[in-house]
Symmetry: C2
Subunit: 328 residues, 2 copies
Protein backbone atom coordinates (compact mmCIF):
# COMPACT_ATOMS: atom_id res chain seq x y z
CA UNK A 1 0.00 0.00 0.00
CA UNK A 2 1.01 3.58 -0.63
CA UNK A 3 0.89 5.92 2.36
CA UNK A 4 1.34 9.69 2.53
CA UNK A 5 2.25 11.42 5.79
CA UNK A 6 1.91 15.21 5.86
CA UNK A 7 4.17 16.73 8.45
CA UNK A 8 6.03 13.53 7.69
CA UNK A 9 9.46 14.67 8.83
CA UNK A 10 8.11 16.00 12.13
CA UNK A 11 8.16 14.22 15.45
CA UNK A 12 5.07 12.03 15.15
CA UNK A 13 5.25 11.68 11.36
CA UNK A 14 8.79 10.36 11.38
CA UNK A 15 8.09 7.91 14.21
CA UNK A 16 4.97 6.58 12.50
CA UNK A 17 7.00 6.16 9.29
CA UNK A 18 9.72 4.14 11.03
CA UNK A 19 7.08 2.01 12.71
CA UNK A 20 5.03 1.08 9.61
CA UNK A 21 8.16 0.49 7.50
CA UNK A 22 9.50 -1.95 10.08
CA UNK A 23 6.61 -4.39 9.82
CA UNK A 24 3.18 -4.64 8.19
CA UNK A 25 0.65 -3.14 10.59
CA UNK A 26 -1.77 -1.02 8.56
CA UNK A 27 -4.63 -3.17 7.32
CA UNK A 28 -5.81 -3.05 3.72
CA UNK A 29 -9.33 -3.25 2.36
CA UNK A 30 -9.34 -7.01 3.06
CA UNK A 31 -8.60 -6.39 6.74
CA UNK A 32 -5.10 -7.93 6.72
CA UNK A 33 -1.84 -6.08 7.47
CA UNK A 34 -0.16 -4.81 4.31
CA UNK A 35 3.46 -4.22 3.35
CA UNK A 36 4.23 -0.57 2.57
CA UNK A 37 5.15 -0.25 -1.11
CA UNK A 38 5.67 3.52 -1.05
CA UNK A 39 5.78 6.05 1.77
CA UNK A 40 5.77 9.77 0.98
CA UNK A 41 6.88 12.10 3.76
CA UNK A 42 5.57 15.57 2.94
CA UNK A 43 6.63 18.58 4.94
CA UNK A 44 6.99 22.35 4.72
CA UNK A 45 10.63 22.15 5.74
CA UNK A 46 13.59 19.93 4.83
CA UNK A 47 14.09 17.18 7.41
CA UNK A 48 15.96 18.06 10.62
CA UNK A 49 16.29 14.44 11.77
CA UNK A 50 17.36 12.15 8.90
CA UNK A 51 14.37 10.48 7.20
CA UNK A 52 14.14 6.67 7.29
CA UNK A 53 16.87 5.12 5.11
CA UNK A 54 14.58 2.94 3.00
CA UNK A 55 14.12 2.73 -0.79
CA UNK A 56 10.34 2.96 -0.38
CA UNK A 57 10.57 6.42 1.19
CA UNK A 58 10.30 9.67 -0.74
CA UNK A 59 10.64 13.04 0.99
CA UNK A 60 8.67 15.90 -0.63
CA UNK A 61 9.00 19.50 0.54
CA UNK A 62 6.10 21.83 -0.25
CA UNK A 63 3.30 24.08 0.91
CA UNK A 64 0.14 22.36 2.19
CA UNK A 65 -1.75 25.58 1.43
CA UNK A 66 -1.12 25.11 -2.31
CA UNK A 67 -4.00 23.01 -3.68
CA UNK A 68 -2.02 21.93 -6.77
CA UNK A 69 0.88 20.70 -4.64
CA UNK A 70 -1.47 18.63 -2.49
CA UNK A 71 -3.23 17.21 -5.56
CA UNK A 72 0.15 16.06 -6.88
CA UNK A 73 0.90 14.53 -3.49
CA UNK A 74 -2.30 12.52 -3.06
CA UNK A 75 -2.68 10.56 -6.29
CA UNK A 76 -4.86 7.65 -7.37
CA UNK A 77 -2.34 5.16 -5.94
CA UNK A 78 -2.64 6.58 -2.42
CA UNK A 79 -4.36 4.24 0.03
CA UNK A 80 -4.01 6.29 3.21
CA UNK A 81 -3.01 9.80 4.28
CA UNK A 82 -1.94 10.61 7.83
CA UNK A 83 -2.43 14.37 8.11
CA UNK A 84 -0.10 15.74 10.80
CA UNK A 85 0.89 19.02 9.11
CA UNK A 86 -0.25 21.90 11.32
CA UNK A 87 0.62 25.21 12.86
CA UNK A 88 0.58 24.42 16.57
CA UNK A 89 -1.42 26.22 19.25
CA UNK A 90 0.96 29.02 20.20
CA UNK A 91 1.82 29.57 16.54
CA UNK A 92 -1.82 29.78 15.42
CA UNK A 93 -2.54 32.20 18.25
CA UNK A 94 0.39 34.43 17.26
CA UNK A 95 -0.24 34.36 13.49
CA UNK A 96 -3.97 34.21 12.82
CA UNK A 97 -3.69 34.05 9.02
CA UNK A 98 -1.00 31.37 9.02
CA UNK A 99 -3.10 29.24 11.37
CA UNK A 100 -6.22 29.42 9.22
CA UNK A 101 -4.12 28.92 6.09
CA UNK A 102 -2.32 25.77 7.19
CA UNK A 103 -4.83 24.27 9.61
CA UNK A 104 -8.10 25.01 7.81
CA UNK A 105 -7.19 25.47 4.14
CA UNK A 106 -4.40 22.89 4.32
CA UNK A 107 -6.75 20.30 5.79
CA UNK A 108 -9.37 21.12 3.19
CA UNK A 109 -6.76 20.71 0.45
CA UNK A 110 -6.01 17.21 1.74
CA UNK A 111 -9.71 16.29 1.75
CA UNK A 112 -10.29 17.80 -1.69
CA UNK A 113 -7.25 16.07 -3.23
CA UNK A 114 -8.40 12.76 -1.76
CA UNK A 115 -11.93 13.35 -3.06
CA UNK A 116 -10.56 14.14 -6.51
CA UNK A 117 -9.01 10.66 -6.78
CA UNK A 118 -12.54 9.24 -6.73
CA UNK A 119 -11.21 6.26 -4.77
CA UNK A 120 -12.24 7.16 -1.21
CA UNK A 121 -8.81 6.81 0.44
CA UNK A 122 -8.40 6.70 4.20
CA UNK A 123 -7.64 10.10 5.75
CA UNK A 124 -6.44 10.07 9.33
CA UNK A 125 -6.81 13.60 10.64
CA UNK A 126 -4.96 14.81 13.72
CA UNK A 127 -7.03 16.77 16.19
CA UNK A 128 -6.43 17.83 19.76
CA UNK A 129 -8.14 18.18 23.11
CA UNK A 130 -7.83 21.92 22.38
CA UNK A 131 -11.18 21.53 20.58
CA UNK A 132 -12.71 21.62 24.07
CA UNK A 133 -12.73 24.72 26.19
CA UNK A 134 -13.68 25.56 29.72
CA UNK A 135 -14.69 22.01 30.70
CA UNK A 136 -12.71 20.21 33.41
CA UNK A 137 -13.90 16.78 32.27
CA UNK A 138 -14.78 15.74 28.74
CA UNK A 139 -16.16 12.66 27.07
CA UNK A 140 -17.11 11.62 23.55
CA UNK A 141 -20.39 13.61 23.68
CA UNK A 142 -18.98 16.89 25.02
CA UNK A 143 -19.65 19.91 22.81
CA UNK A 144 -16.60 21.38 21.07
CA UNK A 145 -16.18 24.90 22.44
CA UNK A 146 -12.60 25.83 21.56
CA UNK A 147 -11.10 28.92 23.13
CA UNK A 148 -8.08 29.22 20.85
CA UNK A 149 -7.71 29.63 17.08
CA UNK A 150 -5.86 26.30 16.94
CA UNK A 151 -8.73 24.52 18.69
CA UNK A 152 -11.22 26.25 16.39
CA UNK A 153 -9.34 25.12 13.29
CA UNK A 154 -9.11 21.55 14.56
CA UNK A 155 -12.84 21.49 15.38
CA UNK A 156 -13.58 22.73 11.85
CA UNK A 157 -11.36 19.99 10.44
CA UNK A 158 -13.26 17.35 12.42
CA UNK A 159 -16.56 18.61 11.03
CA UNK A 160 -15.24 18.47 7.47
CA UNK A 161 -13.80 14.96 7.92
CA UNK A 162 -17.26 13.80 9.05
CA UNK A 163 -19.00 15.49 6.12
CA UNK A 164 -16.56 14.31 3.42
CA UNK A 165 -16.85 10.80 4.85
CA UNK A 166 -20.66 10.90 4.96
CA UNK A 167 -20.64 11.92 1.29
CA UNK A 168 -18.38 8.97 0.44
CA UNK A 169 -15.52 11.17 -0.77
CA UNK A 170 -13.02 9.86 1.80
CA UNK A 171 -12.87 7.25 4.55
CA UNK A 172 -12.00 9.76 7.25
CA UNK A 173 -11.00 9.19 10.84
CA UNK A 174 -9.98 11.81 13.39
CA UNK A 175 -7.72 11.14 16.36
CA UNK A 176 -8.14 13.74 19.09
CA UNK A 177 -4.86 13.77 21.00
CA UNK A 178 -3.92 14.84 24.51
CA UNK A 179 -0.67 16.77 24.89
CA UNK A 180 2.25 14.67 23.69
CA UNK A 181 4.85 14.22 26.46
CA UNK A 182 7.82 13.80 26.25
CA UNK A 183 8.38 15.35 22.81
CA UNK A 184 12.03 14.76 21.84
CA UNK A 185 14.17 17.43 20.19
CA UNK A 186 13.89 21.15 20.60
CA UNK A 187 10.89 23.13 21.94
CA UNK A 188 8.22 24.05 19.35
CA UNK A 189 5.64 26.86 19.38
CA UNK A 190 2.92 24.77 21.01
CA UNK A 191 1.59 26.38 24.18
CA UNK A 192 1.80 22.89 25.67
CA UNK A 193 5.50 22.55 24.83
CA UNK A 194 6.61 23.28 28.38
CA UNK A 195 5.08 20.00 29.57
CA UNK A 196 7.76 18.17 27.61
CA UNK A 197 10.53 20.68 28.24
CA UNK A 198 10.26 20.47 32.03
CA UNK A 199 11.14 16.75 31.82
CA UNK A 200 13.29 16.62 28.69
CA UNK A 201 15.72 19.47 29.31
CA UNK A 202 16.72 18.41 32.85
CA UNK A 203 17.27 14.80 31.71
CA UNK A 204 19.66 16.16 29.08
CA UNK A 205 21.51 18.36 31.57
CA UNK A 206 19.89 21.68 30.67
CA UNK A 207 18.11 24.17 32.94
CA UNK A 208 14.45 24.88 32.15
CA UNK A 209 11.62 27.10 33.33
CA UNK A 210 8.16 25.89 34.32
CA UNK A 211 5.58 28.52 33.29
CA UNK A 212 2.48 27.11 35.04
CA UNK A 213 1.14 26.47 38.51
CA UNK A 214 2.21 23.03 39.89
CA UNK A 215 -1.46 22.33 40.73
CA UNK A 216 -2.40 22.54 37.03
CA UNK A 217 -3.21 19.15 35.54
CA UNK A 218 -2.44 18.13 31.99
CA UNK A 219 -3.80 15.24 29.96
CA UNK A 220 -0.71 13.64 28.46
CA UNK A 221 0.22 10.78 26.15
CA UNK A 222 3.66 9.50 25.11
CA UNK A 223 4.80 9.60 21.46
CA UNK A 224 4.93 5.79 21.48
CA UNK A 225 1.28 5.48 22.58
CA UNK A 226 0.28 8.19 20.10
CA UNK A 227 1.85 6.34 17.17
CA UNK A 228 0.03 3.18 18.26
CA UNK A 229 -3.23 5.15 18.48
CA UNK A 230 -2.84 6.38 14.88
CA UNK A 231 -2.36 2.80 13.71
CA UNK A 232 -5.39 1.70 15.75
CA UNK A 233 -7.59 4.45 14.30
CA UNK A 234 -6.44 3.65 10.76
CA UNK A 235 -7.28 -0.02 11.33
CA UNK A 236 -10.64 0.54 13.08
CA UNK A 237 -13.72 -0.83 11.36
CA UNK A 238 -15.45 2.09 9.65
CA UNK A 239 -18.92 0.71 10.30
CA UNK A 240 -18.21 0.65 14.03
CA UNK A 241 -17.16 4.30 13.95
CA UNK A 242 -20.41 5.39 12.31
CA UNK A 243 -21.11 8.98 11.21
CA UNK A 244 -18.98 10.49 13.96
CA UNK A 245 -15.43 9.77 12.80
CA UNK A 246 -13.70 11.36 15.80
CA UNK A 247 -12.02 9.21 18.42
CA UNK A 248 -10.96 11.02 21.57
CA UNK A 249 -7.78 9.39 22.89
CA UNK A 250 -7.43 8.91 26.62
CA UNK A 251 -4.37 10.05 28.53
CA UNK A 252 -3.20 10.25 32.12
CA UNK A 253 -3.80 13.45 34.08
CA UNK A 254 -0.96 14.24 36.48
CA UNK A 255 -0.53 17.62 38.09
CA UNK A 256 2.54 19.46 36.84
CA UNK A 257 3.88 19.12 40.39
CA UNK A 258 3.38 15.35 40.21
CA UNK A 259 5.26 15.23 36.90
CA UNK A 260 8.18 17.03 38.53
CA UNK A 261 8.01 14.71 41.55
CA UNK A 262 8.13 11.69 39.22
CA UNK A 263 11.20 13.20 37.57
CA UNK A 264 12.82 13.61 41.00
CA UNK A 265 12.02 10.00 41.93
CA UNK A 266 13.33 8.67 38.63
CA UNK A 267 16.42 10.82 38.07
CA UNK A 268 17.30 12.36 41.42
CA UNK A 269 17.56 15.84 42.91
CA UNK A 270 20.37 16.97 40.61
CA UNK A 271 18.13 16.56 37.60
CA UNK A 272 14.89 17.82 39.19
CA UNK A 273 16.59 20.92 40.58
CA UNK A 274 17.26 22.11 37.00
CA UNK A 275 13.57 23.17 36.83
CA UNK A 276 12.85 26.75 37.91
CA UNK A 277 9.34 28.22 38.29
CA UNK A 278 8.80 31.29 36.09
CA UNK A 279 5.01 31.79 35.76
CA UNK A 280 3.79 32.91 32.32
CA UNK A 281 0.25 34.27 32.38
CA UNK A 282 -0.38 33.72 28.66
CA UNK A 283 0.67 30.07 28.74
CA UNK A 284 -1.32 29.54 31.96
CA UNK A 285 -4.41 31.07 30.36
CA UNK A 286 -4.22 28.85 27.27
CA UNK A 287 -3.54 25.70 29.29
CA UNK A 288 -6.38 26.54 31.69
CA UNK A 289 -8.83 26.31 28.77
CA UNK A 290 -7.93 22.63 28.21
CA UNK A 291 -9.64 19.72 29.96
CA UNK A 292 -8.04 17.87 32.87
CA UNK A 293 -9.90 14.57 32.57
CA UNK A 294 -10.97 12.65 29.47
CA UNK A 295 -13.27 9.64 29.49
CA UNK A 296 -13.09 8.27 25.96
CA UNK A 297 -15.33 5.21 25.73
CA UNK A 298 -14.87 4.98 21.95
CA UNK A 299 -11.09 4.79 22.27
CA UNK A 300 -11.37 2.17 25.02
CA UNK A 301 -13.73 0.10 22.89
CA UNK A 302 -11.09 0.15 20.14
CA UNK A 303 -8.52 -1.15 22.65
CA UNK A 304 -6.50 2.07 22.65
CA UNK A 305 -4.49 2.38 25.86
CA UNK A 306 -2.90 5.42 27.51
CA UNK A 307 0.40 5.24 29.39
CA UNK A 308 0.52 3.61 32.84
CA UNK A 309 2.34 6.43 34.66
CA UNK A 310 4.62 9.44 34.34
CA UNK A 311 7.48 7.14 35.39
CA UNK A 312 6.76 4.91 32.38
CA UNK A 313 6.71 7.95 30.09
CA UNK A 314 10.08 9.15 31.44
CA UNK A 315 11.64 5.69 31.23
CA UNK A 316 10.46 5.22 27.63
CA UNK A 317 11.95 8.58 26.66
CA UNK A 318 15.27 7.81 28.29
CA UNK A 319 15.48 4.41 26.60
CA UNK A 320 14.22 5.42 23.14
CA UNK A 321 15.69 8.90 22.79
CA UNK A 322 18.71 9.04 25.11
CA UNK A 323 20.05 5.50 24.60
CA UNK A 324 19.18 4.72 28.20
CA UNK A 325 21.37 7.47 29.73
CA UNK A 326 20.27 10.76 31.24
CA UNK A 327 22.60 13.49 32.55
CA UNK A 328 22.51 13.10 36.33
Amino acid sequence: MKVVITGGTGMLGRRLALRILARPELVGSDGTPQEISKLVLFDAFPPVEPPPDDPRVAVVTGDICDRAVVEDLIDADTDAVFHFAAVVSGGAEADFDLGYGVNLDGGRNVLEAARKTGLCPKIIFTSSLAVYGGERSVDDATALTPQTSYGTQKAIGELMVNDYTRKGFVDGRTLRLPTIVIRPGRPNAAASGFASSILREPLQGDPVTNPVDPETRMLILSPRRAVQAFIDVHNADGGTLGMNRSVMMNGISPKIGEMLAALRDYAGDGVADRVRAVPDALVQQIVDSWPWYADGARARALGMEPDASVAEIIDTFVNEELDGEFVS
Copy 2:
Protein backbone atom coordinates in the same frame (compact mmCIF):
# COMPACT_ATOMS: atom_id res chain seq x y z
CA MET B 1 -25.90 53.80 11.50
CA LYS B 2 -24.96 51.95 8.31
CA VAL B 3 -26.20 48.37 8.03
CA VAL B 4 -25.40 45.73 5.43
CA ILE B 5 -27.70 42.75 4.87
CA THR B 6 -26.33 39.89 2.77
CA GLY B 7 -29.09 37.91 1.17
CA GLY B 8 -30.79 41.28 1.61
CA THR B 9 -33.42 40.84 -1.07
CA GLY B 10 -34.41 37.40 0.20
CA MET B 11 -37.32 36.59 2.46
CA LEU B 12 -35.82 37.37 5.87
CA GLY B 13 -33.42 40.04 4.62
CA ARG B 14 -36.14 42.10 2.98
CA ARG B 15 -38.44 41.85 6.02
CA LEU B 16 -35.65 42.86 8.40
CA ALA B 17 -34.88 45.81 6.11
CA LEU B 18 -38.48 47.03 6.11
CA ARG B 19 -38.62 46.67 9.87
CA ILE B 20 -35.46 48.61 10.76
CA LEU B 21 -36.20 51.34 8.20
CA ALA B 22 -39.64 51.90 9.72
CA ARG B 23 -38.37 52.86 13.16
CA PRO B 24 -35.10 52.97 15.11
CA GLU B 25 -34.66 49.58 16.79
CA LEU B 26 -31.01 48.60 16.43
CA VAL B 27 -28.99 49.97 19.30
CA GLY B 28 -25.70 51.78 18.76
CA SER B 29 -22.55 51.64 20.85
CA ASP B 30 -24.23 53.88 23.44
CA GLY B 31 -27.07 51.38 23.87
CA THR B 32 -29.81 53.61 22.40
CA PRO B 33 -31.84 52.83 19.23
CA GLN B 34 -30.31 54.45 16.15
CA GLU B 35 -31.79 55.77 12.92
CA ILE B 36 -30.57 53.93 9.82
CA SER B 37 -28.52 56.30 7.68
CA LYS B 38 -27.68 53.75 5.00
CA LEU B 39 -28.89 50.21 4.34
CA VAL B 40 -27.16 48.06 1.73
CA LEU B 41 -29.06 45.01 0.51
CA PHE B 42 -26.54 42.63 -1.04
CA ASP B 43 -27.65 39.56 -2.94
CA ALA B 44 -26.53 37.13 -5.63
CA PHE B 45 -29.65 37.80 -7.66
CA PRO B 46 -31.61 40.90 -8.65
CA PRO B 47 -34.62 41.42 -6.36
CA VAL B 48 -37.77 39.38 -7.06
CA GLU B 49 -39.94 41.34 -4.63
CA PRO B 50 -39.38 45.12 -4.96
CA PRO B 51 -36.80 46.41 -2.45
CA PRO B 52 -37.93 48.99 0.12
CA ASP B 53 -38.66 52.33 -1.58
CA ASP B 54 -36.42 54.47 0.60
CA PRO B 55 -33.57 56.84 -0.30
CA ARG B 56 -31.34 55.21 2.33
CA VAL B 57 -31.47 51.84 0.58
CA ALA B 58 -28.91 50.63 -1.96
CA VAL B 59 -29.25 47.26 -3.69
CA VAL B 60 -25.96 45.61 -4.68
CA THR B 61 -25.84 42.42 -6.73
CA GLY B 62 -22.66 40.33 -6.46
CA ASP B 63 -20.94 37.10 -5.51
CA ILE B 64 -20.35 36.52 -1.78
CA CYS B 65 -17.57 34.10 -2.76
CA ASP B 66 -15.53 36.97 -4.23
CA ARG B 67 -13.39 38.40 -1.42
CA ALA B 68 -12.86 41.73 -3.23
CA VAL B 69 -16.61 42.19 -3.71
CA VAL B 70 -17.24 41.59 -0.02
CA GLU B 71 -14.43 43.96 0.98
CA ASP B 72 -16.08 46.67 -1.11
CA LEU B 73 -19.40 45.90 0.54
CA ILE B 74 -18.26 46.04 4.17
CA ASP B 75 -16.40 49.33 4.51
CA ALA B 76 -15.18 51.37 7.45
CA ASP B 77 -18.60 53.07 7.77
CA THR B 78 -20.39 49.77 8.36
CA ASP B 79 -21.75 49.36 11.88
CA ALA B 80 -23.51 46.01 11.50
CA VAL B 81 -23.77 43.16 9.00
CA PHE B 82 -26.67 40.71 9.02
CA HIS B 83 -25.36 37.70 7.11
CA PHE B 84 -28.29 35.79 5.60
CA ALA B 85 -26.70 34.82 2.26
CA ALA B 86 -26.59 31.02 2.05
CA VAL B 87 -27.16 27.98 -0.07
CA VAL B 88 -29.99 26.20 1.77
CA SER B 89 -29.97 22.63 2.99
CA GLY B 90 -31.26 20.78 -0.07
CA GLY B 91 -29.10 22.95 -2.33
CA ALA B 92 -25.92 22.34 -0.31
CA GLU B 93 -26.64 18.61 -0.32
CA ALA B 94 -27.14 18.59 -4.09
CA ASP B 95 -24.13 20.80 -4.97
CA PHE B 96 -21.30 20.13 -2.52
CA ASP B 97 -18.89 22.71 -3.98
CA LEU B 98 -21.49 25.47 -4.17
CA GLY B 99 -22.45 24.85 -0.54
CA TYR B 100 -18.87 25.07 0.74
CA GLY B 101 -18.22 28.06 -1.53
CA VAL B 102 -21.16 30.19 -0.42
CA ASN B 103 -21.71 28.94 3.14
CA LEU B 104 -18.11 28.49 4.29
CA ASP B 105 -15.99 30.75 2.05
CA GLY B 106 -18.74 33.36 1.80
CA GLY B 107 -19.08 33.54 5.57
CA ARG B 108 -15.32 33.74 5.95
CA ASN B 109 -15.22 36.59 3.41
CA VAL B 110 -17.73 38.52 5.54
CA LEU B 111 -15.64 37.98 8.68
CA GLU B 112 -12.39 38.88 6.90
CA ALA B 113 -13.83 42.03 5.34
CA ALA B 114 -15.17 43.10 8.72
CA ARG B 115 -11.80 42.37 10.33
CA LYS B 116 -10.02 44.41 7.65
CA THR B 117 -11.94 47.55 8.66
CA GLY B 118 -10.15 47.41 12.01
CA LEU B 119 -13.33 48.73 13.65
CA CYS B 120 -14.86 45.54 15.10
CA PRO B 121 -18.33 45.85 13.51
CA LYS B 122 -21.24 43.70 14.63
CA ILE B 123 -21.72 40.57 12.55
CA ILE B 124 -25.00 38.73 13.01
CA PHE B 125 -24.53 35.28 11.53
CA THR B 126 -27.47 33.08 10.60
CA SER B 127 -27.24 29.48 11.69
CA SER B 128 -29.77 26.70 11.89
CA LEU B 129 -30.88 23.80 14.06
CA ALA B 130 -29.37 21.68 11.26
CA VAL B 131 -26.08 22.02 13.20
CA TYR B 132 -27.49 19.28 15.44
CA GLY B 133 -27.98 15.75 14.26
CA GLY B 134 -29.56 12.64 15.64
CA GLU B 135 -30.72 14.23 18.92
CA ARG B 136 -34.45 14.45 19.64
CA SER B 137 -34.00 17.23 22.20
CA VAL B 138 -31.30 19.89 22.21
CA ASP B 139 -30.24 22.70 24.50
CA ASP B 140 -27.51 25.33 24.53
CA ALA B 141 -24.86 22.78 25.62
CA THR B 142 -25.65 20.05 23.08
CA ALA B 143 -22.70 19.07 20.86
CA LEU B 144 -22.98 20.10 17.20
CA THR B 145 -23.08 16.86 15.20
CA PRO B 146 -24.49 17.89 11.82
CA GLN B 147 -25.56 15.18 9.41
CA THR B 148 -25.83 17.36 6.31
CA SER B 149 -23.32 19.53 4.46
CA TYR B 150 -25.48 22.59 5.20
CA GLY B 151 -25.40 21.85 8.92
CA THR B 152 -21.65 21.25 8.76
CA GLN B 153 -21.06 24.59 7.05
CA LYS B 154 -23.24 26.43 9.57
CA ALA B 155 -21.43 24.76 12.50
CA ILE B 156 -18.11 25.84 10.97
CA GLY B 157 -19.43 29.39 10.63
CA GLU B 158 -20.42 29.43 14.31
CA LEU B 159 -16.91 28.35 15.32
CA MET B 160 -15.35 31.10 13.20
CA VAL B 161 -17.71 33.77 14.56
CA ASN B 162 -16.63 32.79 18.09
CA ASP B 163 -12.94 32.86 17.19
CA TYR B 164 -13.01 36.16 15.28
CA THR B 165 -14.95 37.69 18.19
CA ARG B 166 -12.53 36.32 20.80
CA LYS B 167 -9.66 37.89 18.84
CA GLY B 168 -11.47 41.25 18.81
CA PHE B 169 -11.77 41.35 15.01
CA VAL B 170 -15.59 41.48 15.01
CA ASP B 171 -18.42 41.67 17.53
CA GLY B 172 -20.06 38.48 16.32
CA ARG B 173 -23.39 36.95 17.28
CA THR B 174 -24.97 33.82 15.84
CA LEU B 175 -28.71 33.16 15.75
CA ARG B 176 -29.50 29.47 15.40
CA LEU B 177 -32.93 29.31 13.78
CA PRO B 178 -35.64 26.66 13.71
CA THR B 179 -37.38 26.08 10.38
CA ILE B 180 -39.11 29.26 9.22
CA VAL B 181 -42.84 28.68 8.69
CA ILE B 182 -44.75 30.05 6.81
CA ARG B 183 -42.23 31.29 4.22
CA PRO B 184 -44.08 33.46 1.71
CA GLY B 185 -43.49 33.26 -2.03
CA ARG B 186 -42.41 30.25 -4.03
CA PRO B 187 -40.78 27.06 -2.69
CA ASN B 188 -36.98 27.17 -2.33
CA ALA B 189 -34.44 24.34 -2.29
CA ALA B 190 -34.47 23.92 1.49
CA ALA B 191 -35.30 20.38 2.55
CA SER B 192 -37.59 22.01 5.11
CA GLY B 193 -39.49 23.95 2.45
CA PHE B 194 -42.45 21.57 2.49
CA ALA B 195 -43.33 22.68 6.03
CA SER B 196 -44.26 26.07 4.62
CA SER B 197 -45.70 24.75 1.34
CA ILE B 198 -48.24 22.46 3.00
CA LEU B 199 -49.82 25.53 4.64
CA ARG B 200 -49.08 28.25 2.10
CA GLU B 201 -50.17 26.61 -1.14
CA PRO B 202 -53.63 25.48 0.07
CA LEU B 203 -54.32 28.94 1.54
CA GLN B 204 -53.61 30.35 -1.92
CA GLY B 205 -55.87 27.81 -3.69
CA ASP B 206 -53.12 25.49 -4.94
CA PRO B 207 -52.74 21.74 -4.42
CA VAL B 208 -49.60 20.56 -2.60
CA THR B 209 -47.92 17.33 -1.59
CA ASN B 210 -46.76 16.49 1.94
CA PRO B 211 -43.54 14.44 1.71
CA VAL B 212 -43.20 13.36 5.37
CA ASP B 213 -44.95 11.23 7.97
CA PRO B 214 -47.68 13.16 9.85
CA GLU B 215 -46.13 11.97 13.14
CA THR B 216 -42.88 13.83 12.33
CA ARG B 217 -42.39 16.91 14.46
CA MET B 218 -40.75 20.10 13.30
CA LEU B 219 -39.39 23.00 15.32
CA ILE B 220 -40.84 26.07 13.64
CA LEU B 221 -40.76 29.86 13.95
CA SER B 222 -42.64 32.50 11.99
CA PRO B 223 -40.82 35.07 9.82
CA ARG B 224 -42.13 37.82 12.11
CA ARG B 225 -40.66 36.19 15.23
CA ALA B 226 -37.41 35.47 13.36
CA VAL B 227 -36.97 39.13 12.38
CA GLN B 228 -37.58 40.12 16.01
CA ALA B 229 -35.00 37.55 17.12
CA PHE B 230 -32.35 39.03 14.80
CA ILE B 231 -32.99 42.47 16.28
CA ASP B 232 -32.81 41.01 19.80
CA VAL B 233 -29.50 39.26 19.10
CA HIS B 234 -28.05 42.40 17.54
CA ASN B 235 -29.07 44.38 20.61
CA ALA B 236 -27.94 41.82 23.21
CA ASP B 237 -25.22 42.89 25.61
CA GLY B 238 -21.97 41.34 24.36
CA GLY B 239 -20.63 40.79 27.86
CA THR B 240 -23.69 38.73 28.75
CA LEU B 241 -23.15 36.51 25.71
CA GLY B 242 -19.57 35.73 26.70
CA MET B 243 -17.20 33.65 24.56
CA ASN B 244 -20.01 31.54 23.10
CA ARG B 245 -21.71 33.90 20.68
CA SER B 246 -24.39 31.46 19.55
CA VAL B 247 -27.98 31.88 20.67
CA MET B 248 -30.29 28.95 19.93
CA MET B 249 -33.77 30.31 19.20
CA ASN B 250 -36.74 28.42 20.60
CA GLY B 251 -39.69 27.41 18.44
CA ILE B 252 -42.86 25.42 18.79
CA SER B 253 -42.83 21.71 17.91
CA PRO B 254 -46.08 20.57 16.29
CA LYS B 255 -46.40 17.28 14.46
CA ILE B 256 -46.91 17.72 10.73
CA GLY B 257 -50.36 16.18 11.29
CA GLU B 258 -51.10 18.83 13.92
CA MET B 259 -50.05 21.57 11.51
CA LEU B 260 -52.50 20.21 8.93
CA ALA B 261 -55.24 19.92 11.59
CA ALA B 262 -54.66 23.56 12.54
CA LEU B 263 -55.00 24.50 8.87
CA ARG B 264 -58.31 22.58 8.73
CA ASP B 265 -59.59 24.33 11.86
CA TYR B 266 -58.57 27.75 10.57
CA ALA B 267 -59.49 27.56 6.88
CA GLY B 268 -61.89 24.62 6.52
CA ASP B 269 -61.98 21.29 4.71
CA GLY B 270 -61.84 22.80 1.22
CA VAL B 271 -58.42 24.27 1.96
CA ALA B 272 -57.05 21.35 4.00
CA ASP B 273 -58.11 18.80 1.38
CA ARG B 274 -55.68 20.40 -1.10
CA VAL B 275 -52.83 18.58 0.75
CA ARG B 276 -52.00 15.12 -0.57
CA ALA B 277 -49.54 12.71 1.09
CA VAL B 278 -46.68 11.71 -1.23
CA PRO B 279 -43.85 10.38 0.97
CA ASP B 280 -40.31 11.34 -0.11
CA ALA B 281 -37.63 9.19 1.52
CA LEU B 282 -34.80 11.71 0.97
CA VAL B 283 -36.72 14.60 2.55
CA GLN B 284 -37.85 12.33 5.41
CA GLN B 285 -34.25 11.26 6.01
CA ILE B 286 -32.93 14.84 6.16
CA VAL B 287 -35.77 16.04 8.37
CA ASP B 288 -35.35 13.04 10.70
CA SER B 289 -31.81 14.24 11.47
CA TRP B 290 -33.16 17.52 12.94
CA PRO B 291 -34.21 17.93 16.58
CA TRP B 292 -37.84 17.95 17.65
CA TYR B 293 -37.48 19.88 20.90
CA ALA B 294 -35.25 22.86 21.75
CA ASP B 295 -34.75 24.26 25.22
CA GLY B 296 -32.85 27.49 24.68
CA ALA B 297 -32.22 29.10 28.08
CA ARG B 298 -29.96 31.76 26.54
CA ALA B 299 -32.70 32.92 24.15
CA ARG B 300 -35.26 32.98 26.97
CA ALA B 301 -32.91 35.02 29.15
CA LEU B 302 -32.69 37.55 26.31
CA GLY B 303 -36.50 37.73 26.22
CA MET B 304 -36.76 36.09 22.81
CA GLU B 305 -40.21 34.51 22.37
CA PRO B 306 -41.40 31.82 19.95
CA ASP B 307 -44.90 31.83 18.43
CA ALA B 308 -47.88 30.88 20.60
CA SER B 309 -49.44 28.32 18.22
CA VAL B 310 -49.72 27.08 14.65
CA ALA B 311 -53.03 28.98 14.45
CA GLU B 312 -51.19 32.22 15.26
CA ILE B 313 -48.59 31.47 12.59
CA ILE B 314 -51.30 30.84 9.98
CA ASP B 315 -53.26 33.93 10.97
CA THR B 316 -50.16 36.16 10.80
CA PHE B 317 -49.37 34.83 7.33
CA VAL B 318 -52.91 35.42 6.06
CA ASN B 319 -52.94 38.96 7.42
CA GLU B 320 -49.42 40.00 6.45
CA GLU B 321 -49.00 38.21 3.12
CA LEU B 322 -52.51 37.61 1.77
CA ASP B 323 -54.16 40.88 2.84
CA GLY B 324 -56.37 38.92 5.23
CA GLU B 325 -57.96 36.70 2.54
CA PHE B 326 -57.24 33.06 1.79
CA VAL B 327 -58.78 31.03 -1.06
CA SER B 328 -61.48 28.93 0.57
